[in-house]
Protein backbone atom coordinates (compact mmCIF):
# COMPACT_ATOMS: atom_id res chain seq x y z
CA UNK A 1 0.00 0.00 0.00
CA UNK A 2 1.28 3.44 -1.02
CA UNK A 3 0.24 6.58 0.85
CA UNK A 4 1.06 10.18 0.09
CA UNK A 5 -0.25 13.59 -0.80
CA UNK A 6 -1.43 14.35 -4.31
CA UNK A 7 0.59 16.77 -6.42
CA UNK A 8 -1.64 17.65 -9.34
CA UNK A 9 -0.94 18.85 -12.88
CA UNK A 10 -3.01 19.30 -16.06
CA UNK A 11 -3.09 17.75 -19.54
CA UNK A 12 -0.19 17.10 -21.92
CA UNK A 13 2.62 17.38 -19.36
CA UNK A 14 5.58 16.76 -21.69
CA UNK A 15 8.96 15.25 -20.90
CA UNK A 16 10.67 18.55 -21.73
CA UNK A 17 9.08 20.18 -18.69
CA UNK A 18 9.51 17.05 -16.56
CA UNK A 19 13.26 17.23 -17.18
CA UNK A 20 14.50 19.96 -19.56
CA UNK A 21 17.09 18.88 -22.13
CA UNK A 22 19.68 21.27 -20.68
CA UNK A 23 20.06 18.80 -17.80
CA UNK A 24 20.36 15.69 -19.96
CA UNK A 25 24.14 15.76 -19.96
CA UNK A 26 24.02 13.48 -16.94
CA UNK A 27 22.41 10.12 -16.22
CA UNK A 28 22.63 10.41 -12.41
CA UNK A 29 19.10 10.04 -10.94
CA UNK A 30 19.89 12.30 -7.96
CA UNK A 31 21.15 15.09 -10.19
CA UNK A 32 18.12 14.73 -12.49
CA UNK A 33 15.75 14.86 -9.51
CA UNK A 34 17.08 18.30 -8.55
CA UNK A 35 15.61 19.72 -11.78
CA UNK A 36 12.46 17.58 -12.00
CA UNK A 37 9.35 19.57 -13.12
CA UNK A 38 11.44 22.75 -13.04
CA UNK A 39 9.96 24.41 -16.14
CA UNK A 40 6.35 23.65 -15.17
CA UNK A 41 6.43 23.98 -11.39
CA UNK A 42 9.61 25.52 -9.95
CA UNK A 43 8.30 24.84 -6.42
CA UNK A 44 8.05 21.08 -6.98
CA UNK A 45 11.45 20.28 -5.57
CA UNK A 46 10.67 21.91 -2.24
CA UNK A 47 7.17 20.57 -1.78
CA UNK A 48 7.65 16.94 -2.87
CA UNK A 49 8.02 14.43 -0.06
CA UNK A 50 8.93 10.80 -0.31
CA UNK A 51 5.80 8.75 -1.07
CA UNK A 52 3.85 11.58 -2.74
CA UNK A 53 1.58 10.71 -5.62
CA UNK A 54 1.59 12.65 -8.89
CA UNK A 55 -1.83 13.17 -10.46
CA UNK A 56 -2.34 14.45 -14.01
CA UNK A 57 -4.79 14.72 -16.89
CA UNK A 58 -4.50 13.27 -20.37
CA UNK A 59 -1.37 12.36 -22.37
CA UNK A 60 1.02 12.59 -19.42
CA UNK A 61 4.68 12.29 -20.46
CA UNK A 62 4.21 13.17 -24.14
CA UNK A 63 7.11 14.19 -26.34
CA UNK A 64 10.68 12.98 -26.06
CA UNK A 65 11.45 9.34 -25.22
CA UNK A 66 13.98 10.38 -22.57
CA UNK A 67 13.87 7.81 -19.78
CA UNK A 68 15.44 10.55 -17.67
CA UNK A 69 11.84 11.80 -17.16
CA UNK A 70 10.44 8.83 -15.18
CA UNK A 71 13.89 8.39 -13.58
CA UNK A 72 13.79 12.01 -12.33
CA UNK A 73 10.23 11.62 -11.03
CA UNK A 74 11.08 8.37 -9.25
CA UNK A 75 14.26 9.81 -7.76
CA UNK A 76 12.27 12.81 -6.48
CA UNK A 77 10.42 10.43 -4.18
CA UNK A 78 7.15 10.15 -6.14
CA UNK A 79 5.72 6.70 -5.39
CA UNK A 80 3.10 6.46 -8.12
CA UNK A 81 1.51 8.47 -10.96
CA UNK A 82 -2.24 8.50 -11.57
CA UNK A 83 -3.36 10.04 -14.88
CA UNK A 84 -6.32 10.00 -17.24
CA UNK A 85 -4.00 8.72 -19.99
CA UNK A 86 -0.24 8.38 -20.50
CA UNK A 87 1.78 8.95 -23.67
CA UNK A 88 2.92 5.53 -24.80
CA UNK A 89 6.70 5.83 -24.54
CA UNK A 90 6.43 7.27 -21.03
CA UNK A 91 4.05 4.44 -20.15
CA UNK A 92 6.51 1.72 -21.17
CA UNK A 93 9.48 3.56 -19.67
CA UNK A 94 7.73 3.80 -16.29
CA UNK A 95 6.83 0.10 -16.34
CA UNK A 96 10.35 -0.81 -17.47
CA UNK A 97 12.05 1.08 -14.61
CA UNK A 98 9.53 0.00 -11.98
CA UNK A 99 7.75 3.31 -11.41
CA UNK A 100 4.09 2.44 -10.71
CA UNK A 101 1.57 4.23 -12.93
CA UNK A 102 -2.20 3.92 -13.00
CA UNK A 103 -4.64 5.00 -15.68
CA UNK A 104 -7.82 6.05 -13.91
CA UNK A 105 -9.66 8.99 -15.53
CA UNK A 106 -12.19 9.39 -12.73
CA UNK A 107 -9.60 9.52 -9.93
CA UNK A 108 -7.32 11.72 -12.02
CA UNK A 109 -10.15 14.22 -12.50
CA UNK A 110 -11.46 14.13 -8.90
CA UNK A 111 -8.27 14.20 -6.86
CA UNK A 112 -7.19 17.65 -5.73
CA UNK A 113 -3.77 19.02 -5.07
CA UNK A 114 -2.86 18.23 -1.46
CA UNK A 115 -5.40 15.40 -0.95
CA UNK A 116 -4.07 12.43 1.00
CA UNK A 117 -4.24 9.39 -1.26
CA UNK A 118 -3.76 5.65 -0.73
CA UNK A 119 -3.07 3.26 -3.61
CA UNK A 120 -3.15 -0.51 -3.53
CA UNK A 121 -1.06 -1.54 -6.51
CA UNK A 122 -2.10 -5.18 -6.42
CA UNK A 123 -5.81 -4.41 -6.77
CA UNK A 124 -5.59 -1.02 -8.51
CA UNK A 125 -7.74 0.52 -5.78
CA UNK A 126 -7.24 4.23 -5.20
CA UNK A 127 -8.64 5.87 -2.05
CA UNK A 128 -8.90 9.57 -1.46
CA UNK A 129 -8.30 9.61 2.29
CA UNK A 130 -9.33 13.27 2.44
CA UNK A 131 -12.84 12.65 1.03
CA UNK A 132 -13.17 8.90 1.60
CA UNK A 133 -14.03 8.23 -2.06
CA UNK A 134 -12.56 5.14 -3.73
CA UNK A 135 -11.73 4.41 -7.37
CA UNK A 136 -10.61 1.39 -9.33
CA UNK A 137 -7.89 1.59 -12.00
CA UNK A 138 -7.86 -0.95 -14.83
CA UNK A 139 -5.55 -3.85 -13.94
CA UNK A 140 -2.33 -4.36 -15.89
CA UNK A 141 -2.26 -7.14 -18.50
CA UNK A 142 -0.54 -10.26 -17.23
CA UNK A 143 2.72 -9.70 -19.09
CA UNK A 144 3.14 -6.26 -17.55
CA UNK A 145 2.32 -7.66 -14.11
CA UNK A 146 5.18 -10.10 -14.63
CA UNK A 147 7.47 -7.22 -15.57
CA UNK A 148 6.40 -5.28 -12.48
CA UNK A 149 6.77 -8.37 -10.26
CA UNK A 150 10.26 -8.98 -11.59
CA UNK A 151 11.15 -5.39 -10.63
CA UNK A 152 11.31 -3.95 -14.14
CA UNK A 153 12.65 -4.97 -17.53
CA UNK A 154 16.29 -5.26 -16.40
CA UNK A 155 15.43 -7.92 -13.83
CA UNK A 156 13.01 -9.59 -16.24
CA UNK A 157 15.67 -9.92 -18.96
CA UNK A 158 18.24 -11.01 -16.39
CA UNK A 159 15.89 -13.81 -15.31
CA UNK A 160 15.26 -14.85 -18.91
CA UNK A 161 18.92 -14.81 -19.90
CA UNK A 162 19.71 -16.78 -16.75
CA UNK A 163 17.03 -19.32 -17.60
CA UNK A 164 18.44 -19.77 -21.09
CA UNK A 165 21.85 -20.32 -19.52
Amino acid sequence: MIKGKAIKYGNNVDTDVIIPARYLNTTDPKELAVHCMEDLDPGFRNKVQSGDIMVAGTNFGCGSSREHAPIAIKASGISCIIAETFARIFYRNAINIGLPILECPEAARDLRDGDQVAVDLTTGEITNLTTGKTYKAAPFPQFMQELIRAGGLVEYVKERMGAEG
Binding site: S65, R66, R92, G152, L153, V157
Partner: protein, 421 residues
Protein backbone atom coordinates in the same frame (compact mmCIF):
# COMPACT_ATOMS: atom_id res chain seq x y z
CA UNK B 1 -10.92 -9.47 -39.91
CA UNK B 2 -7.76 -8.60 -41.83
CA UNK B 3 -4.64 -6.89 -40.60
CA UNK B 4 -3.18 -3.42 -41.10
CA UNK B 5 0.36 -2.89 -42.47
CA UNK B 6 1.71 -2.51 -38.95
CA UNK B 7 -0.09 -5.58 -37.63
CA UNK B 8 1.29 -7.71 -40.49
CA UNK B 9 4.86 -6.59 -39.90
CA UNK B 10 4.57 -7.20 -36.16
CA UNK B 11 2.99 -10.63 -36.65
CA UNK B 12 5.80 -11.68 -39.01
CA UNK B 13 8.44 -10.55 -36.51
CA UNK B 14 6.73 -12.34 -33.64
CA UNK B 15 6.51 -15.60 -35.61
CA UNK B 16 2.70 -15.43 -35.62
CA UNK B 17 0.22 -15.85 -38.46
CA UNK B 18 -2.10 -13.30 -36.99
CA UNK B 19 -2.17 -10.63 -34.30
CA UNK B 20 -5.01 -8.56 -32.90
CA UNK B 21 -5.12 -5.05 -31.47
CA UNK B 22 -4.29 -5.06 -27.78
CA UNK B 23 -2.34 -8.31 -27.96
CA UNK B 24 1.04 -8.24 -26.19
CA UNK B 25 3.81 -9.80 -28.27
CA UNK B 26 7.55 -10.29 -28.19
CA UNK B 27 8.99 -9.39 -31.61
CA UNK B 28 12.41 -9.66 -33.22
CA UNK B 29 13.94 -6.34 -34.16
CA UNK B 30 15.99 -5.57 -37.29
CA UNK B 31 17.68 -2.49 -35.86
CA UNK B 32 18.18 -0.97 -32.41
CA UNK B 33 19.13 2.70 -32.30
CA UNK B 34 20.41 5.09 -29.65
CA UNK B 35 21.97 8.54 -29.38
CA UNK B 36 24.36 10.34 -27.05
CA UNK B 37 21.57 11.17 -24.57
CA UNK B 38 19.70 7.87 -24.44
CA UNK B 39 22.46 5.33 -25.15
CA UNK B 40 24.53 6.03 -22.00
CA UNK B 41 21.49 5.11 -19.84
CA UNK B 42 20.89 2.04 -22.03
CA UNK B 43 24.53 0.97 -21.71
CA UNK B 44 24.29 1.20 -17.91
CA UNK B 45 21.13 -0.95 -17.92
CA UNK B 46 22.67 -3.36 -20.48
CA UNK B 47 25.51 -4.00 -18.04
CA UNK B 48 23.09 -4.29 -15.12
CA UNK B 49 21.28 -7.04 -17.06
CA UNK B 50 24.52 -8.97 -17.04
CA UNK B 51 24.70 -8.91 -20.85
CA UNK B 52 28.17 -9.27 -22.28
CA UNK B 53 27.65 -8.94 -26.05
CA UNK B 54 25.07 -7.26 -28.23
CA UNK B 55 22.79 -9.71 -30.04
CA UNK B 56 24.09 -8.66 -33.47
CA UNK B 57 26.77 -6.01 -33.97
CA UNK B 58 25.36 -5.16 -37.42
CA UNK B 59 21.90 -4.46 -36.01
CA UNK B 60 22.78 -1.81 -33.45
CA UNK B 61 23.27 1.80 -34.51
CA UNK B 62 24.75 4.48 -32.26
CA UNK B 63 24.73 8.11 -33.35
CA UNK B 64 26.18 10.95 -31.29
CA UNK B 65 23.97 13.75 -32.64
CA UNK B 66 22.20 15.61 -29.83
CA UNK B 67 24.88 17.47 -27.87
CA UNK B 68 27.59 17.05 -30.50
CA UNK B 69 30.11 18.28 -31.39
CA UNK B 70 30.41 17.98 -27.60
CA UNK B 71 28.84 21.07 -26.09
CA UNK B 72 30.37 20.75 -22.63
CA UNK B 73 32.46 18.43 -20.47
CA UNK B 74 29.52 16.39 -19.19
CA UNK B 75 28.25 15.80 -22.73
CA UNK B 76 31.74 14.82 -23.80
CA UNK B 77 31.74 12.20 -21.03
CA UNK B 78 28.37 10.85 -22.22
CA UNK B 79 29.70 10.58 -25.77
CA UNK B 80 32.79 8.80 -24.48
CA UNK B 81 30.65 6.18 -22.75
CA UNK B 82 28.88 5.50 -26.05
CA UNK B 83 32.08 5.55 -28.15
CA UNK B 84 33.86 3.08 -25.85
CA UNK B 85 30.86 0.77 -25.78
CA UNK B 86 30.72 0.87 -29.60
CA UNK B 87 34.41 -0.09 -29.75
CA UNK B 88 34.12 -2.83 -27.12
CA UNK B 89 31.09 -4.36 -28.81
CA UNK B 90 32.50 -3.82 -32.31
CA UNK B 91 29.30 -2.04 -33.31
CA UNK B 92 29.42 -1.66 -37.08
CA UNK B 93 27.06 1.30 -37.26
CA UNK B 94 28.65 3.80 -34.93
CA UNK B 95 28.93 7.16 -36.67
CA UNK B 96 31.54 9.51 -35.25
CA UNK B 97 31.43 13.29 -35.64
CA UNK B 98 32.58 13.80 -39.21
CA UNK B 99 30.66 10.75 -40.41
CA UNK B 100 27.46 11.32 -38.55
CA UNK B 101 24.27 13.20 -39.06
CA UNK B 102 20.98 13.62 -37.27
CA UNK B 103 20.05 10.00 -36.68
CA UNK B 104 16.69 9.94 -38.43
CA UNK B 105 18.12 11.50 -41.59
CA UNK B 106 21.27 9.39 -41.40
CA UNK B 107 19.82 5.90 -40.83
CA UNK B 108 17.71 5.80 -44.04
CA UNK B 109 20.53 7.48 -45.99
CA UNK B 110 22.88 4.69 -44.92
CA UNK B 111 20.35 2.10 -46.08
CA UNK B 112 19.93 0.64 -42.59
CA UNK B 113 16.14 0.46 -42.86
CA UNK B 114 14.16 -1.28 -45.60
CA UNK B 115 10.42 -1.91 -46.03
CA UNK B 116 8.97 -4.49 -43.64
CA UNK B 117 11.61 -3.97 -40.93
CA UNK B 118 10.91 -3.62 -37.23
CA UNK B 119 13.07 -0.85 -35.80
CA UNK B 120 13.18 0.52 -32.28
CA UNK B 121 15.16 3.52 -31.21
CA UNK B 122 15.67 5.26 -27.92
CA UNK B 123 14.47 8.48 -29.49
CA UNK B 124 10.83 9.40 -29.98
CA UNK B 125 11.30 10.40 -33.63
CA UNK B 126 12.36 6.88 -34.59
CA UNK B 127 8.89 6.72 -36.16
CA UNK B 128 10.44 8.54 -39.16
CA UNK B 129 11.30 5.28 -40.97
CA UNK B 130 7.64 4.46 -41.42
CA UNK B 131 8.08 6.51 -44.59
CA UNK B 132 9.83 3.42 -45.99
CA UNK B 133 7.01 1.03 -45.12
CA UNK B 134 8.80 -0.22 -42.00
CA UNK B 135 7.42 -0.45 -38.48
CA UNK B 136 9.58 1.85 -36.42
CA UNK B 137 8.90 3.35 -33.04
CA UNK B 138 10.51 5.24 -30.21
CA UNK B 139 11.21 3.54 -26.91
CA UNK B 140 13.20 4.31 -23.78
CA UNK B 141 16.74 3.43 -22.81
CA UNK B 142 15.85 0.27 -20.87
CA UNK B 143 13.96 -1.07 -23.90
CA UNK B 144 17.02 -0.28 -25.99
CA UNK B 145 19.22 -2.14 -23.51
CA UNK B 146 16.98 -5.21 -23.52
CA UNK B 147 16.83 -5.24 -27.32
CA UNK B 148 20.62 -4.88 -27.62
CA UNK B 149 20.94 -7.90 -25.32
CA UNK B 150 18.18 -10.11 -26.70
CA UNK B 151 17.28 -8.82 -30.18
CA UNK B 152 13.67 -8.54 -29.06
CA UNK B 153 11.21 -6.01 -27.75
CA UNK B 154 7.71 -6.24 -26.30
CA UNK B 155 4.85 -4.49 -28.06
CA UNK B 156 1.16 -4.02 -27.60
CA UNK B 157 -0.31 -4.52 -31.08
CA UNK B 158 -1.83 -1.16 -32.03
CA UNK B 159 -5.08 -0.26 -33.70
CA UNK B 160 -4.72 2.07 -36.65
CA UNK B 161 -6.13 5.26 -38.07
CA UNK B 162 -6.13 5.37 -41.87
CA UNK B 163 -5.33 8.57 -43.73
CA UNK B 164 -6.34 8.38 -47.38
CA UNK B 165 -4.44 11.10 -49.22
CA UNK B 166 -5.82 12.51 -52.49
CA UNK B 167 -4.83 15.24 -54.90
CA UNK B 168 -1.62 17.24 -55.07
CA UNK B 169 -0.05 19.86 -52.81
CA UNK B 170 -0.10 23.50 -53.91
CA UNK B 171 3.05 25.51 -54.53
CA UNK B 172 5.09 26.02 -51.31
CA UNK B 173 2.92 23.59 -49.35
CA UNK B 174 4.95 20.63 -48.05
CA UNK B 175 4.85 17.47 -46.00
CA UNK B 176 5.38 19.64 -42.91
CA UNK B 177 2.14 21.49 -43.58
CA UNK B 178 0.34 18.17 -44.11
CA UNK B 179 1.41 16.72 -40.77
CA UNK B 180 0.82 19.97 -38.83
CA UNK B 181 -2.62 20.14 -40.47
CA UNK B 182 -3.35 16.55 -39.37
CA UNK B 183 -2.11 17.12 -35.81
CA UNK B 184 -4.25 20.25 -35.65
CA UNK B 185 -7.19 18.14 -36.73
CA UNK B 186 -6.78 15.16 -34.37
CA UNK B 187 -4.81 16.71 -31.48
CA UNK B 188 -1.57 15.82 -29.72
CA UNK B 189 -3.11 12.61 -28.37
CA UNK B 190 -5.42 12.00 -31.34
CA UNK B 191 -3.57 8.83 -32.31
CA UNK B 192 -2.53 7.74 -28.80
CA UNK B 193 -1.32 4.11 -28.72
CA UNK B 194 -2.30 3.77 -32.43
CA UNK B 195 -0.66 3.54 -35.85
CA UNK B 196 -1.18 6.22 -38.45
CA UNK B 197 -1.32 4.54 -41.85
CA UNK B 198 -0.94 6.72 -44.93
CA UNK B 199 -2.34 5.51 -48.20
CA UNK B 200 -4.19 6.74 -51.29
CA UNK B 201 -3.28 8.08 -54.71
CA UNK B 202 -2.03 11.35 -53.19
CA UNK B 203 1.06 9.60 -51.83
CA UNK B 204 2.52 9.38 -55.33
CA UNK B 205 2.88 13.17 -55.40
CA UNK B 206 4.82 13.26 -52.13
CA UNK B 207 8.62 13.05 -52.27
CA UNK B 208 10.42 10.66 -49.92
CA UNK B 209 11.59 13.71 -47.96
CA UNK B 210 7.96 14.83 -47.52
CA UNK B 211 7.05 11.34 -46.33
CA UNK B 212 9.95 11.27 -43.83
CA UNK B 213 8.70 14.59 -42.43
CA UNK B 214 5.13 13.32 -42.10
CA UNK B 215 6.09 9.99 -40.47
CA UNK B 216 8.59 11.82 -38.23
CA UNK B 217 5.86 13.82 -36.52
CA UNK B 218 3.41 10.93 -36.01
CA UNK B 219 4.65 10.92 -32.39
CA UNK B 220 3.40 14.49 -32.07
CA UNK B 221 -0.13 13.09 -32.44
CA UNK B 222 0.71 10.50 -29.78
CA UNK B 223 1.00 7.70 -32.35
CA UNK B 224 3.03 4.55 -31.85
CA UNK B 225 4.14 4.74 -35.47
CA UNK B 226 3.35 6.34 -38.79
CA UNK B 227 3.64 4.19 -41.88
CA UNK B 228 3.33 4.77 -45.63
CA UNK B 229 2.25 2.26 -48.18
CA UNK B 230 5.23 1.29 -50.35
CA UNK B 231 5.18 2.54 -53.97
CA UNK B 232 7.62 3.00 -56.86
CA UNK B 233 9.14 6.05 -55.20
CA UNK B 234 9.90 4.01 -52.05
CA UNK B 235 11.37 1.16 -54.10
CA UNK B 236 13.59 3.58 -56.01
CA UNK B 237 14.84 5.09 -52.74
CA UNK B 238 15.58 1.65 -51.30
CA UNK B 239 17.40 0.60 -54.48
CA UNK B 240 19.62 3.67 -54.26
CA UNK B 241 20.44 3.27 -50.59
CA UNK B 242 20.44 -0.40 -49.63
CA UNK B 243 21.33 -3.83 -50.93
CA UNK B 244 19.38 -5.66 -48.24
CA UNK B 245 16.49 -7.95 -49.09
CA UNK B 246 13.10 -6.75 -48.00
CA UNK B 247 9.44 -7.58 -47.95
CA UNK B 248 6.60 -5.23 -48.79
CA UNK B 249 3.49 -5.49 -46.60
CA UNK B 250 0.13 -4.17 -47.70
CA UNK B 251 -2.90 -3.81 -45.45
CA UNK B 252 -5.63 -6.39 -46.04
CA UNK B 253 -8.74 -5.17 -47.85
CA UNK B 254 -10.77 -5.96 -44.74
CA UNK B 255 -8.33 -4.52 -42.22
CA UNK B 256 -10.14 -2.68 -39.47
CA UNK B 257 -9.42 0.95 -38.62
CA UNK B 258 -10.59 2.92 -35.60
CA UNK B 259 -11.03 5.93 -37.88
CA UNK B 260 -10.56 6.82 -41.54
CA UNK B 261 -9.76 10.34 -42.71
CA UNK B 262 -9.71 11.48 -46.32
CA UNK B 263 -7.36 14.34 -46.92
CA UNK B 264 -7.35 16.35 -50.13
CA UNK B 265 -3.75 17.54 -50.38
CA UNK B 266 -4.78 20.44 -52.64
CA UNK B 267 -6.77 21.90 -49.76
CA UNK B 268 -3.94 21.74 -47.18
CA UNK B 269 -2.83 25.32 -46.43
CA UNK B 270 0.54 26.61 -45.27
CA UNK B 271 0.34 25.83 -41.56
CA UNK B 272 2.17 27.16 -38.49
CA UNK B 273 1.93 25.60 -35.01
CA UNK B 274 1.94 28.29 -32.31
CA UNK B 275 3.29 27.77 -28.78
CA UNK B 276 3.08 25.53 -26.84
CA UNK B 277 1.63 22.50 -28.62
CA UNK B 278 2.13 21.15 -32.16
CA UNK B 279 -1.68 20.95 -32.42
CA UNK B 280 -2.08 24.69 -31.91
CA UNK B 281 -2.13 25.35 -35.66
CA UNK B 282 -2.85 28.57 -37.51
CA UNK B 283 -3.05 29.48 -41.18
CA UNK B 284 -1.94 32.74 -42.76
CA UNK B 285 -5.43 34.21 -42.85
CA UNK B 286 -5.29 34.11 -39.02
CA UNK B 287 -1.68 35.18 -38.47
CA UNK B 288 -1.05 38.86 -37.85
CA UNK B 289 2.29 40.59 -37.37
CA UNK B 290 4.40 38.42 -35.10
CA UNK B 291 7.99 39.64 -34.93
CA UNK B 292 10.69 37.01 -34.44
CA UNK B 293 14.28 36.83 -33.19
CA UNK B 294 15.53 33.57 -34.66
CA UNK B 295 14.93 31.09 -37.46
CA UNK B 296 16.13 27.49 -37.38
CA UNK B 297 16.08 25.43 -40.57
CA UNK B 298 17.09 21.84 -39.89
CA UNK B 299 16.37 18.90 -37.55
CA UNK B 300 15.28 15.30 -38.13
CA UNK B 301 11.99 16.74 -39.37
CA UNK B 302 13.24 19.19 -42.01
CA UNK B 303 17.00 19.12 -42.49
CA UNK B 304 17.06 17.08 -45.71
CA UNK B 305 18.32 18.22 -49.09
CA UNK B 306 14.92 19.14 -50.51
CA UNK B 307 14.23 21.23 -47.38
CA UNK B 308 17.47 23.14 -47.93
CA UNK B 309 16.67 23.59 -51.63
CA UNK B 310 13.31 25.17 -50.79
CA UNK B 311 14.87 27.43 -48.15
CA UNK B 312 17.54 28.48 -50.65
CA UNK B 313 14.93 29.16 -53.33
CA UNK B 314 13.23 31.61 -50.96
CA UNK B 315 16.43 33.17 -49.59
CA UNK B 316 18.29 33.54 -52.90
CA UNK B 317 19.10 37.18 -53.60
CA UNK B 318 17.62 38.31 -50.28
CA UNK B 319 19.14 39.26 -46.95
CA UNK B 320 17.84 37.96 -43.67
CA UNK B 321 16.28 40.63 -41.47
CA UNK B 322 18.95 42.37 -39.37
CA UNK B 323 17.11 41.45 -36.18
CA UNK B 324 16.85 37.73 -36.99
CA UNK B 325 19.55 35.15 -36.32
CA UNK B 326 19.11 32.50 -39.01
CA UNK B 327 20.64 29.09 -38.42
CA UNK B 328 20.69 26.46 -41.17
CA UNK B 329 21.64 22.91 -40.20
CA UNK B 330 22.06 20.29 -42.93
CA UNK B 331 21.02 17.02 -41.28
CA UNK B 332 23.91 14.82 -42.43
CA UNK B 333 27.43 15.20 -43.78
CA UNK B 334 26.24 13.94 -47.16
CA UNK B 335 23.42 16.50 -47.28
CA UNK B 336 25.96 19.15 -46.25
CA UNK B 337 28.25 18.13 -49.11
CA UNK B 338 25.46 18.05 -51.67
CA UNK B 339 24.12 21.41 -50.49
CA UNK B 340 27.64 22.78 -50.91
CA UNK B 341 27.99 21.36 -54.42
CA UNK B 342 24.61 22.75 -55.44
CA UNK B 343 25.57 26.20 -54.17
CA UNK B 344 22.89 26.23 -51.47
CA UNK B 345 25.32 26.95 -48.65
CA UNK B 346 26.62 29.96 -50.54
CA UNK B 347 23.08 31.30 -50.86
CA UNK B 348 22.57 30.91 -47.09
CA UNK B 349 25.83 32.62 -46.16
CA UNK B 350 25.31 35.41 -48.71
CA UNK B 351 21.87 35.98 -47.21
CA UNK B 352 23.37 36.38 -43.74
CA UNK B 353 22.48 32.98 -42.29
CA UNK B 354 24.91 30.71 -40.47
CA UNK B 355 25.42 27.13 -41.58
CA UNK B 356 26.14 24.59 -38.87
CA UNK B 357 27.56 21.11 -38.81
CA UNK B 358 24.84 18.45 -38.40
CA UNK B 359 23.41 18.44 -34.86
CA UNK B 360 20.04 18.20 -33.10
CA UNK B 361 21.34 21.14 -30.97
CA UNK B 362 18.73 23.91 -30.97
CA UNK B 363 15.65 21.72 -31.56
CA UNK B 364 15.73 20.42 -27.99
CA UNK B 365 17.36 23.47 -26.42
CA UNK B 366 20.73 21.75 -26.26
CA UNK B 367 23.10 24.20 -27.94
CA UNK B 368 23.72 26.10 -31.21
CA UNK B 369 20.83 28.54 -30.95
CA UNK B 370 19.30 28.75 -27.48
CA UNK B 371 16.60 31.37 -26.93
CA UNK B 372 16.72 34.03 -24.20
CA UNK B 373 13.74 35.07 -22.08
CA UNK B 374 10.93 36.43 -24.22
CA UNK B 375 12.56 35.52 -27.54
CA UNK B 376 10.62 33.99 -30.38
CA UNK B 377 11.76 31.54 -33.06
CA UNK B 378 10.28 30.13 -36.22
CA UNK B 379 11.70 26.62 -36.55
CA UNK B 380 11.32 23.73 -38.95
CA UNK B 381 11.68 21.44 -35.93
CA UNK B 382 9.01 19.26 -34.33
CA UNK B 383 8.16 20.52 -30.85
CA UNK B 384 7.17 23.88 -29.42
CA UNK B 385 6.68 22.88 -25.78
CA UNK B 386 7.40 25.31 -22.94
CA UNK B 387 11.16 25.90 -22.76
CA UNK B 388 11.87 23.54 -25.64
CA UNK B 389 14.47 25.78 -27.35
CA UNK B 390 15.72 27.60 -24.30
CA UNK B 391 14.28 29.92 -21.66
CA UNK B 392 10.98 28.87 -20.15
CA UNK B 393 9.51 32.17 -21.39
CA UNK B 394 10.72 31.80 -24.98
CA UNK B 395 8.48 30.72 -27.84
CA UNK B 396 8.80 28.33 -30.79
CA UNK B 397 6.57 28.46 -33.88
CA UNK B 398 6.74 25.31 -35.99
CA UNK B 399 6.66 25.72 -39.76
CA UNK B 400 7.96 24.46 -43.09
CA UNK B 401 11.35 25.44 -44.56
CA UNK B 402 9.58 27.78 -47.02
CA UNK B 403 7.79 29.66 -44.23
CA UNK B 404 10.89 29.70 -42.02
CA UNK B 405 13.03 31.14 -44.83
CA UNK B 406 10.42 33.78 -45.71
CA UNK B 407 10.13 34.73 -42.03
CA UNK B 408 13.90 35.11 -41.80
CA UNK B 409 13.75 37.75 -44.54
CA UNK B 410 10.81 39.78 -43.22
CA UNK B 411 11.56 39.42 -39.49
CA UNK B 412 8.01 38.25 -38.79
CA UNK B 413 6.07 35.06 -39.44
CA UNK B 414 5.54 35.21 -43.19
CA UNK B 415 4.47 33.09 -46.11
CA UNK B 416 6.82 32.66 -49.07
CA UNK B 417 4.25 34.42 -51.25
CA UNK B 418 4.85 37.58 -49.22
CA UNK B 419 8.49 37.51 -50.24
CA UNK B 420 8.33 36.09 -53.74
CA UNK B 421 4.78 36.89 -54.77
Amino acid sequence: MGMTMTQKILAAHAGLDKVEPGQLIMANVDLVLGNDITAPVAIREFKRMGARRVFDRKKVALVPDHFTPNKDIKSAEQCRVMREFARDMEIENYFEVGQMGIEHALIPEKGLVVPGDVVIGADSHTCTYGALGAFSTGVGSTDMAAAMATGQAWFKVPEAIKFVLKGRLNKWVSGKDVILHIIGMIGVDGALYQSMEFTGEGIAGLSMDDRFTIANMAIEAGAKNGIFEVDDETLEYVKQHSTREFKVYKADEDAEYSKVFEIDLSSVPLTVAFPHLPSNVNTFDQIGDIPIDQVVIGSCTNGRLSDLRIAAEVLKGHKVHPRVRTIVIPATQRIYLEAMREGLLEIFVEAGAVVSTPTCGPCLGGHMGILAKGERAVATTNRNFVGRMGHVESEVYLASPAVAAASAITGKISSPEEVLG
